[in-house]
């Protein structure tokens, strides 16, 4: 969201006489999480797709080797949460921009929030309960 979009969102807020700073914090979160994600995601893509044979060397044993280290567990967990929240907020902005009917906007955002919550919880569960001796 640009500065102009933000001031528009803020002016809408004051029009509704809700003095909430949510849109300001959302705007700030996109920038802060964005900077962190540049390192986490580009690092992830470089390791997984380019380094040392790229995607061809990835299999269950490769994942088990990485998640044996807390460093990569924390990396992946931080990347999961930040990327999902960043993307969910981005899609929320897009739905607000293009879905004109109140009902449509509401239900699209509900669908977005429910599916994002599901993916975040599933991903978190997988990282924390990973068992290299499964099967």
């Amino acid at each position: 969201m640009s500065v102009a979009d933000r001031s528009f969102a803020l002016s809408q807020n004051s029009r509704n006489r809700q003095r909430s700073n949510f849109e300001l914090y959302a705007w700030l979160f996109m920038r802060v999480s964005g900077i962190v994600l540049v390192f986490l995601v580009l690092g992830h893509l470089f390791i997984m797709n380019i380094l040392d044979g790229g995607v061809q060397r990835i299999n269950f044993a490769f994942v088990a080797g990485r998640w044996a280290s807390p460093f990569w567990q924390i990396w992946d967990l931080a990347m999961l949460w930040l990327a999902m929240l960043h993307g969910t907020n981005g899609l929320r902005t897009i739905i607000n921009d293009y879905a004109e009917r109140d009902q449509t906007r509401f239900w699209l955002k509900m669908l977005l929030y429910v599916s994002s919550a599901f993916i975040i919880l599933l991903g978190t569960l997988v990282i924390f309960t990973f068992d290299p001796t499964i099967g």
Partner: protein, 131 residues
Amino acid sequence: MATAPVGTLYRGGQGMWSWVAQRITGISVFFFLYVHVLDTALVRVSPEAYDLVIATYKTPIVNLLEVGLVGAVLYHALNGLRVIAVDFWSRGPRFQKQMLWGVVGVWVVVMIPGTYYMLRHTVEALFGATS
């Protein structure tokens, strides 16, 4: 865009199109992320189930899509840094156009070797080893 309004940053010209591209790459990467968490979750089912799905990532067509994914993420990241500079750097708005050419330049410079390493195995498998 002959009638593009003057004096606004995001309407018409490079300012608007970089913003459109930011939205399109953002949506694409976000939907891939949903799928990617789901396929990774298969490590909790069995090694065989995970390896089976990951095998599709190694096929030529999906391999090509991965280059597109990396290109989309890289543009989104670089242009995101440009947006941050426009918002927080006092001279950012004045140099937004130059910064976009910087984004495009870095993108091309990174994607050329990146594409080579990402597709090397696929090209060798399809057309024989190059070396």
